[in-house]
């Protein structure tokens, strides 16, 4: 009887173990849940490297999930530049003028960085936009990662193909690669720092490299980050853009 129970227990464990094997989509969903915060208040900086020149731009920001965001640049050259994002729409204010960013302007880089408006605008979850395939495992910066391959033919997908490396232990993204439809690598991003905030690990420093531009990269760093704090609704308004 004892032997039977042992065999039964072993089989049960094996079944559960097989059930615990996650699909690519499940891994991506888990990662998205992991880095999702109901609200965020932050300050940070862009360090933009263009060949031998380096520009630093500082900012303050507020966001509600991936639906609303307001960013105000605080470095001297860009005081008064503000961005408002509501769902998949974006406005920019500069020198008391508000412009709706649409069409071609979404392709442009943000403040000369390697991030485009489209990179920052993504409202839809990647798991909803892309077909996800678990392509294997690789070590990134000492971290064992799942390698996910994402493909989409949807128009609102900013890139035709992406690769994402997700930590096997913490389900945090550690590396991204963005490809054109032709298969050409356009950009890559690497998480440089993960910080524990409110008992939650959060990527706070990301380096984006434009693979089509030699010597062009941008480090996006959140210096001060508060999660799940109350934000007045007035922040996400045209009024705030004009203030």
């Amino acid at each position: 009887m004892k032997k039977f129970l042992l065999i039964f227990f072993f089989l049960l464990c094996h079944v559960f173990a097989r059930g615990a094997e996650l699909t690519g989509k499940q891994i991506l969903e888990k990662t998205e849940d992991n880095v999702y915060a109901e609200t965020m208040v932050y300050s940070g900086e862009f360090t933009i490297n263009k060949g031998d020149r380096t520009f630093v731009k500082t900012f303050k920001g507020w966001s509600v999930g991936d639906r609303k965001a307001f960013v105000e640049f605080t470095n001297r050259e860009d005081i008064g530049v503000r961005y408002l994002k509501i769902e998949d729409e974006l406005w920019i204010a500069e020198e008391s003028d508000v412009i709706k960013i649409s069409g071609h302007l979404l392709k442009r880089s943000i403040m000369g960085s390697d991030f485009s408006f489209e990179d920052m605008m993504e409202s839809n979850k990647l798991s909803e936009l892309y077909e996800v395939n678990l392509a294997g495992e690789e070590e990134i910066g000492g971290e064992i990662c799942y390698m996910l391959e994402l493909e989409s033919d949807k128009e609102d997908a900013p890139y035709a193909k992406q690769k994402i490396w997700v930590g096997k232990n913490d389900f945090l993204p550690y590396k991204y690669e963005y490809y054109a439809l032709s298969g050409r690598l356009m950009k890559s991003a690497e998480v440089l720092e993960v910080r524990k905030i409110d008992n939650k690990n959060y990527p706070v420093k990301v380096k984006m490299i434009d693979e089509l531009r030699k010597g062009s990269s941008t480090v996006f760093e959140l210096k001060d980050l508060k999660l799940n704090v109350k934000i007045p609704e007035k922040i996400f308004s045209r009024q705030n853009l004009l203030e």
């Binding site: 001297r76 003028d97 302007l105 880089s109 531009r213 045209r238 203030e243």
Partner: protein, 340 residues
């Protein structure tokens, strides 16, 4: 004159009300254009200086002073030297209502090239550069929802019945921003209702339309409409202007908008390191004169942008709007913008 003196005093003392921290920052523009006309070289140099003093705003209080002025120098046969103040105002919030008092530039910006609502501002064109001279008056703005505001602009005259008034309702519906405006010019007893919108339906669509209704029952329409579309790092833009009113005519040479139908085409390519290369064409469909331009823009230093472009007429008789007889055989335009 007294009103203007009060504005100057207000501008000068405003920073003292912002006892604590005060930000001062500004922008300097320089536009140098060289033209070859009637076998002679001509050039003009336009300097624009913009200074803003601002008390860092919080949710309850805001105080800002703005000053911008221009100095235009054009030596030679048609020599002139002009100094203009575009802006001299202060802005504040009173009980959630925004107030601007002084000389200021109301901002309306749906179309890219032709902006019919500029009739209110009276832009002046100088060979590739545009100067907007602000209006003297006040602006009140109240938000009713996060995206919906009502704006009132008054440009008073000594005789109040000659004053100009503007009401502007701005809101957002679907993926479109839109405005409905009503402008009344007391001096000409002209009522100008209008609307404008910009939205995204895969391609960006935009329009601005202004109707002119005069006492004599004459009725004119000025409307500009277009789209832009991007693919890869390229962008193309198309804009058409129906210039039915006579008001949107500049007294300056080049882009005097003497015709009724215009086309504007623009395309540019975003190249590495944040640089832009583009070419554009303006076509007067009435006299079939046209002006082509090629330009290049780059951020040469942190906060310093440099743009250079060459404009040259490609068709039209000697007296047509964009002919070589009117604007010269070409214009080389250099533009520098530095923030400090």
């Amino acid at each position: 004159m007294r009103f203007f003196s009060l504005i100057i005093i207000g501008f000068l003392i405003a920073p003292f009300f912002a006892y604590s921290e005060l930000n001062t920052y500004g922008t300097y523009y320089n536009n140098l254009a060289v033209a070859r006309r009637d076998g002679q070289w001509q050039y003009f140099d336009l300097n624009l200086f913009y200074l803003k003093m601002r008390k860092p705003s919080n949710n309850d209080f805001k105080l800002e002073s703005n000053l911008s002025f221009s100095l235009l120098t054009q030596p030679g046969v048609d020599s002139r030297e002009e100094f203009d103040i575009q802006r001299l105002n202060f802005e504040t919030n009173i009980a959630d209502v925004h107030l601007t008092l002084g000389r200021f530039l109301p901002q309306y910006h749906y179309t890219n090239f032709f902006q019919p609502l500029n009739v209110f501002l009276g832009p002046e064109f100088f060979r590739g550069a545009i100067i907007y001279k602000g209006i003297d008056g006040l602006l009140l703005r109240k938000f009713f929802t996060p995206m919906t505001s009502l704006e009132y602009v008054c440009s008073p005259e000594a005789e109040f019945s000659s004053s100009s008034h503007l009401l502007n309702l701005t809101s957002h519906l679907g993926s479109f921003d839109y405005s409905i405006i009503g402008l009344y010019e007391g001096e000409n007893e002209t009522f100008m209702p209008g609307f404008g919108f910009k939205g995204d339906l895969g391609i960006a669509l935009f329009n601005e339309t202004l109707f002119e209704i005069e006492e004599s029952d004459s009725f004119n329409i000025t409307s500009s409409t277009g789209f832009d579309y991007s693919f890869s790092n390229f962008m193309i833009m198309f804009e058409y202007l129906y210039n039915g009113g006579e008001r949107y005519q500049s007294p300056r040479e080049g882009l005097s908008l003497t015709g009724t139908h215009y086309l504007f085409l623009n395309s540019f390519h975003f190249v590495p390191m944040g640089r832009t290369i583009g070419c554009s064409a303006v076509i007067n469909l009435d006299d079939e004169s046209s002006l082509l331009s090629a330009y290049y823009e780059n951020e040469v230093l942190h906060g310093v942008h440099f743009l250079t472009g060459i404009y040259f007429p490609v068709s039209g008789e000697e007296t047509d709007e964009f002919s070589s007889g009117t604007i010269g055989s070409f214009i080389l335009n250099c533009y520098l913008k530095a923030k400090f």
